[in-house]
Symmetry: C2
Subunit: 107 residues, 2 copies
DNA sequence: TGGTTGGTGAAGCATGCACTTAAGTATCGC
DNA sequence: GCGATACTTAAGTGCATGCTTCACCAACCA
């Protein structure tokens, strides 16, 4: 999932797809690479659940699926919230105890 | 940035750091790999801006930086919102035009 | 019907990445 | 000062990834 978003080409493809559904060759047009390569990227995106596609005649039409995006968003925002809460507690603690005390909690 | 989040070990490190700051060896302890490897992961995390660290004596202490997380979150949520808006419009359009019409807009 | 378009699949290659080993440096405790 | 600790750095290895080429099939259309 993050793996899929890690590649810049794939992020471009996602951005393009946010503009509306597209066929494989439409998707490939602005990219300086073979159709084959694009199809391979597409496979990664589909496996990660970020994109769905269906074939009609000889044309495969792709569109983004926001469920996976939602999951990624949630992961990040949970971690961030967790840390920020902790950070706030620390700040409050430091405000009450201006000196830096010796650590001695874990192991 | 997404590249940095792509690796499961690095995500584990982030999760661990959300529990509070840690030294390099504390970070390495639960991971079945060399200190060296962990340091290399750490370098990636620092370059991506996800983690900051400072050395004091011979101990390097690490903590997450939420700014980068925020950026990632924003990227995702913008794309998602963009697509969902488009999807809504499409739904509305289909509701008004029950038949599937021929496409002929782009190129 | 035969050529063109749109996509598929396999094989190969070159680079990058995760990880290891090994050797080194700086600090801490005695 | 001396050994142990906590990293750091460099070099090397093996596997994953991104991409290409080429051969192929299926639909479209003139």
């Amino acid at each position: 999932m993050f793996q899929a978003l890690a590649d810049p080409t794939r992020r471009l493809m996602i951005e393009r797809l946010c503009d509306g559904p597209a066929s494989v060759s439409e998707l490939a047009a602005p990219l300086a690479m073979t159709l084959s390569a694009v199809v391979q990227h597409l496979a990664v995106l589909e496996e990660s659940g970020l994109v769905r596609s269906q074939k009609q005649g000889r044309v495969r039409t792709c569109q983004v699926d926001t469920q996976a995006l939602r999951a990624a968003e949630r992961w990040i925002s949970e971690r961030r919230a967790l840390w920020e809460k902790r950070f706030d507690r620390l700040a409050a603690y430091l405000a009450e105890n201006p000196e830096e005390p010796k650590e001695g909690s874990e192991t």
